[in-house]
Each structure stands twice: as C-alpha cells, then as structure tokens.
C-alpha cells in the first residue's frame, strides 16, 4: 500500500463521505487512489470554496469537513476558507499536496510553505515526513479538529510521501497526544457557585453563542432555560440554536442586533455567557456586561474567558457536559416579572422601518421566506447588508442558520449551502447573498450542476457593496468610493448558461407567489430580489 492509498483508508475509517477540492500534480496520487473508494469527490471551481463547502458539511454533521487541494497556489487559495472556519471554530481537515520532500525549501515550481502560512489560522498542522506516520497523523488530526474548541487542521503531504510504500496500515483506535487534553467536565466548585448566584438572581439571562451548537448542547440549554423560565439572547453565531419565536428568546445582541436584546443583556443581574467570545461585534462595550452584574462565562477554551471581559465566575468545559451538571442541581427562581419587562422592551424598542415601496423590503421578504421554509430547513446567509437583514428577520424554526460570523467572508453562502445540501439532501437549503457576495462565488453554479446538487440561491440586488456604501454614507457623507457594482452580469442570462431557473421579484406585491414558486422548484433556481440601493440596516 502506498501513502495515497493509506490517506484514503484513513478517510474511510473516519466515515468521510465527501472530499471537496481541486487537483494539481502534487495531490494527484491521492486523487488517483480515491477513485477506488466510495468517498465522493466534488470538484469546486476555486479552492477557497472547497473549505466553505466542507464547512457546510461539518456544521450539519458534527464531523470535520474534508478538502484536498494541490501545493502552491492551490494551498494558498484555500487559506481564506481555513481562516473563515477557524474564526467560527468549524472543524475541518485540509489536505494539501506538497512538492517532493527533498525539494522542500528550494522554491521549486508550485512550492509554498503552507504550514508556515496557515499557522495563525489552524488549530494544528502537520508536514508529513514519513508515509508510515499517515495513520497516526490522520487519527490525531480528526481528533484535534473535532474536540475541545473545534477548528481546522492542515496536513501537508509531499508528492513522494504519497507514493512511498508503507509497511503496514493500521488505523489507531485512539490518540495518544501527550500535550493535548481539552477540559470537558466543568469544575464542580464553580458549578456550585453558578447555582448559588442563579438562585439569588432576579434578572438572569443566558447569552447563547456558536459554541452551544458546536457542543451539541441546544436541547439541554433550552430545557434548562425553560425549566427555570430564564430568558435568552443569542450572538450571531448562536442564531437558530433556539426557535426565533420562542417566548423566552429576545433576539440577537450586538451592534447589529436588536436594541431590546442589548438592553436585556445590559440590565440583567446574572449573565450566563455560553460558548461565546464576547467579541467586539457582539459586545462593543465589555464593561457594560460586567458592571453591576455577575458574569458567568462558560467556554471550552480557557483563553476566551477573561480575554475581552473579566468574568465573575469562569467555567471551563464542554457546554453540554456543564449544562448536564447544572441541570442536576435544583433551585427555584421566579423570572416572570423580568420576562414580562423584556416583552415590554421588545414592544417599545421595535425598529420600525420605512421601506421604499418601489423595491422589495428585506424585512418583509425574509420574514415571508423563512415562514414558508420547511421546519428543519437550512438558511445560509452571506456577508454584507444581506447578512444583517438575515440575522434580523429570519424566522428560524427547528432548522439551522449558517453564516460566516467571525471572519465575515463574502462569498461564503453559496459553497457552504452546497456542502450543507450534500450532507443533508432531504433538507431544504437556501443560500441568501447580495450581488457582491454572489459574484465572489458564482463560479460554483457549475459545481451544483455537475454534481446534481440542488441549488436554491437568492440574490439581493442593490447594485452596490451595500454594507460599505452604508458605512461611507454615515462616515464620509455619501462620498462613495469603489462600491458601485455597475457592470454586473444580467443574472437571468448568466444562470440560464448553467441551466438554472430564474425568478425575479421587483416589489413586495408578488412576494408570496414568487417565494412559493422558488421553494417548490425542483430544478436549480436563482431568485433575484431587487432591493433599494439606498436602504440601510440601521
């Protein structure tokens, strides 16, 4: 058996179903060996999107997404995708081909020091020096990527190592990592302290971050909140963890969030921050969430606790494990008065938009779309004004909301939706992007077509890079610089070249009818939604 065959065996042992990538000579031994496997290979149209598609798979299967690209430009092109996954703690295993080991460091054709280049965007990386190490390295890589605080792991494999014969293939049952032991169980003394503070609380609140879904703790957190009647808010990465219309849910926090969600968090007396980084977009003034209150910060990554806000009770561990422990403790609190205050805030602080009726109003459209979407559907939001509108108005039931929260990578939604649809073909998956982000990933229409993956894409067209235009409107008094998207293609003609159906919505009048048509379409379909170029998210 050669190294390349061993890699495929490792992927099979890990239950990998899809490999996204783009071949080149340096990864050809691997792509040759995978032909003998049931693993499905998906040729994306640019390497960055291989990582985004793998991210879509990872987020719906709780297993690392896998991609494989060639050396040099293939490897450097995928960096943005890796960094996007890293920022959102999405587990990936990224395989890169590399030049022959004896040529390493001599700047030969398509050589790039990829392990060096991705150092700050990966949880760990390997440069394979010996084919016999392949089984151990893959076992470790999958374990590291998907344990503790999840994230991408890169394995760089020189061409000759892929072709070398390995003595014996034996996939290890377990890992033996001397230096890596993530904390899973929360400290019991800290858990007692949390219960003590919660039982005294008059105005507690739970802030749900992306870590709750990553830790598969959605149910137990919701059960805990319901049992004690504790209200909840979410960060952007936490959207979809609990149904949007849940009576204890008070929206997304942050500078693009709901004013009543921020007020609720700031006025609480005990704040349980769960699987959230307390990053600048969610909490612009960390002192507000520590002033006059007990901040309980639960995270699997000890370095996140105290990084942006000093917590009163730090609690390191896996959030599912911690909430199982918290649920064993009994205490009684009555939050009903606090919850009704929050419902009042929700009424008083509702943002009333004044849409321009010559166009489609994003609030009206996204609300109608998500109400009509299936119960367990997947909404993939891109980056830009469209993301903020999606966060504000998407009504997530028991489905998922995927977006690039930490890195804010434009072009994420289409390849991520592709991965999500592959992973869960029975679920409805809709990508929602702007005309800017669409053009960053539109080459992937061919990937949907080639691999018979159903595409449902919505493009908000305002002929601008709306988010930057809005910033220039506020900050530079409408001196617009490099934000016009004039010259964009005619989308109807463009998608017809890929055999997509095309739908268009010009104003609010036909929303319901057009959405029905869009959701029911069995073919690949793109819906272009004309929105006011001068619209603002706030």
């Amino acid at each position: 058996m050669i190294g390349a065959e061993a890699i495929v065996k490792c992927l099979e042992a890990e239950g990998v179903q899809y490999v996204f990538g783009y071949p080149g000579v340096a990864i050809c031994p691997f792509y040759n060996s995978i032909l003998d496997s049931e693993i499905r290979t998906i040729l994306v149209r640019t390497e960055q999107n291989a990582a985004h598609s793998a991210s879509g798979v990872a987020r719906l299967t709780d297993k690392p997404g896998v991609c494989a690209v060639t050396s040099g430009p293939g490897a450097t092109n995928i960096i943005t995708g890796i960094a996007t996954a890293y920022a959102d703690s999405i587990p990936l295993v990224v395989i890169t081909g590399q030049v022959n080991s004896e040529l390493l460091g001599s700047d030969v054709f398509q050589e790039a020091d990829i392990t060096g280049a991705v150092e700050s965007f990966v949880k760990y990386s390997y440069l394979v020096r010996n084919a016999d190490d392949i089984p151990r390295i893959f076992k470790e890589a999958f374990y590291i990527a998907n344990s503790g605080r999840k994230g991408p792991v890169l394995i760089d494999i020189p061409f000759d190592i892929q072709n070398n014969t390995i003595k014996k293939f034996e996939y290890p049952d377990s890992v033996n990592l001397r230096t890596y032991k993530p904390t899973i169980k929360g400290n019991s003394a800290q858990i007692k302290k949390v219960i003590k503070e919660l039982s005294k609380a008059k105005k507690p609140i739970i802030c749900i971050g992306g870590g709750v879904q990553l830790g598969n703790a959605e149910e137990i957190v919701l059960d805990f909140a319901e049992k004690h009647g504790i209200p909840m808010v979410t960060t952007m990465m936490g959207i979809g963890t609990i149904p949007t219309n849940h009576p204890l849910h008070f929206g997304m926090v942050g500078n693009n969030g709901k004013p009543y969600a921020n007020k609720a968090m700031n006025e609480s007396d005990v704040l349980l921050m769960v699987g959230a980084r307390v990053a600048d977009r969610a909490v612009s003034q960390p002192d507000l969430i520590t002033r006059n209150k007990i901040l309980i910060h639960i995270d699997v990554d000890p370095a996140e606790i105290g990084k942006n806000a000093v917590s009163s009770i730090p609690l390191v561990g896996d959030c599912k494990n911690i909430f199982e422990d918290l649920s064993k403790e009994s205490f009684n609190i009555d939050c009903s008065e606090w919850v009704s205050t929050l419902h009042q805030y929700k009424k008083d602080l509702k943002i009333v938009r004044h849409p321009n009726n010559d166009y489609v109003d994003p609030e009206h459209f996204i609300t109608a779309l998500t109400e009509k979407m299936e119960n367990d559907s997947v909404y993939v939001a891109d980056v830009g004004q469209n993301q903020i509108f999606s966060c504000a108005y998407a009504q997530i039931k028991n489905g998922r909301f995927l977006t690039s929260g930490g890195m804010g990578t434009m072009g994420y939604s289409i390849p991520a939706a592709l991965g999500a649809k592959l992973a869960k073909p029975e679920r409805q998956v809709v990508a929602v992007c702007g005309d800017g982000s669409f053009q960053m990933s539109m080459m992937e229409l061919a990937t949907f077509r080639q691999h018979n993956i159903q595409a449902k894409i919505i493009v908000f067209n305002n002929s601008y890079l709306g988010m930057v235009r809005e910033y220039q409107h506020h900050t530079y008094k409408d001196n617009y610089s490099v934000v016009s998207l004039d010259g964009s293609p005619n989308l109807e003609k463009l998608v017809s070249a890929y055999d997509f159906d095309y739908l268009r919505l010009e104003n609010n009048k036909d929303t319901s009818k057009v959405i029905d048509k869009f959701l029911k379409d069995k073919n690949n379909v793109l819906l272009e939604v004309m929105i006011d170029p001068m619209d603002l998210v706030k």
């Binding site: 392990t115 700050s120 760990y124 000890p302 370095a303």
Partner: protein, 166 residues
C-alpha cells in the same frame, strides 16, 4: 507593565519553537528573551520566555501558550521561588596594558576569560539579567567588539514545584 518569566514544557517536535514565536508576534506580545532546549526526557523541550505587559496581557500569554496543541504545561517562574541564569560571551578590544584591569573586573563577577588574542579577548559570564547588565556597564570605557547573550533559562526552587512528566 510587569515582567514575567514563563516556563513552557512542550513536545520536542520540529516547529514547536516557531509556533510559540509566531503566537507572540501575531498577538503583539513582547518577548524579551526566549531560550529552548531538550529536557531530561528527550520527548520534551523546556522553553523559558521572559515577557512583559500589563496583567491582562500576561494572563492571556499564559492561556494562549497553554492552548497550543504541542504545549503540555505553562508555569510562571516567580522570582522569589526560582533561579534564573543567563550566559553572555563578550569580545572586548584590549591593548596589553588594559588586559589586567579587564581580568580583575571579570574575576569580581566570577567570569572567565575563555579566549585571548593579541588585540582582544572573550569573557564568559553567567548570572541573572541584572548582573550581566551591571558587568557590561563596567566595560563602558572599553570597546565591545561582539556580544552574544543566551537569554534567560530558569527553574523553580525546591521539590514542591517540579513538573513531573509521564
């Protein structure tokens, strides 16, 4: 601003030092010195890092170091409970009539003359950071041709704080 000395026990693999160093550069942490070498158990390296920053930064440095997959344990070497040493090699230009004076200063600091050439000599000196700084101050009137400092290495005192490895 405070200065702290951290002791890092890490897997003795290629790339571990670059991972530690790149952590400092990308997060904007100060490194005053960094030294690394294999421990009694060749599977591990001991890295001693002298860093400075405010309380929060120093806490983050400790946590971020501990988070690296290759790092087993990070401890602070507190001054009162630790021994720090640094080695310096100093090549000084000396005329024959200056030589005795230099040898005298070196003796006082318990240094050694490790090389003598007609126009210069090399002094080896070990000690804490301040001792070496003081010694160099005393060489003020002389021309230092070359200076090589190793950076601080340290261990905790006593048997209580020994980090046993599996």
């Amino acid at each position: 601003m405070q200065t702290k000395v951290f002791q890092v026990l890490a897997d003795n693999t290629s790339g571990v030092l670059s991972r530690i160093a790149s952590l400092f550069s990308r997060r904007g942490y100060n490194i005053e010195s960094i030294t690394a070498g294999v421990t009694a158990d060749p599977k591990y390296s001991r890295v001693t890092i002298v860093s400075s920053g405010d309380q929060n930064t120093l806490e983050q440095i400790e946590k971020q170091l501990a988070k690296l997959v290759d790092v087993k344990v990070v401890t602070e070497l507190v001054p009162e409970e630790s021994v720090y040493r640094e080695l310096a090699l100093v090549k000084v230009k000396v005329s024959p009539d200056q030589r005795q004076n230099i040898i005298a200063i070196t003796d006082i600091f318990r240094g050694k003359i490790v090389d003598v050439a007609p126009e210069c000599l090399i002094i080896e000196i070990t000690g804490g950071i301040s001792k070496i700084d003081k010694f160099l101050e005393l060489l003020n009137g002389y021309e230092i041709l070359e200076l090589a400092r190793t950076g601080t290495a340290g261990l905790s005192r006593g048997i209580e704080n020994v980090t046993y490895l599996p």
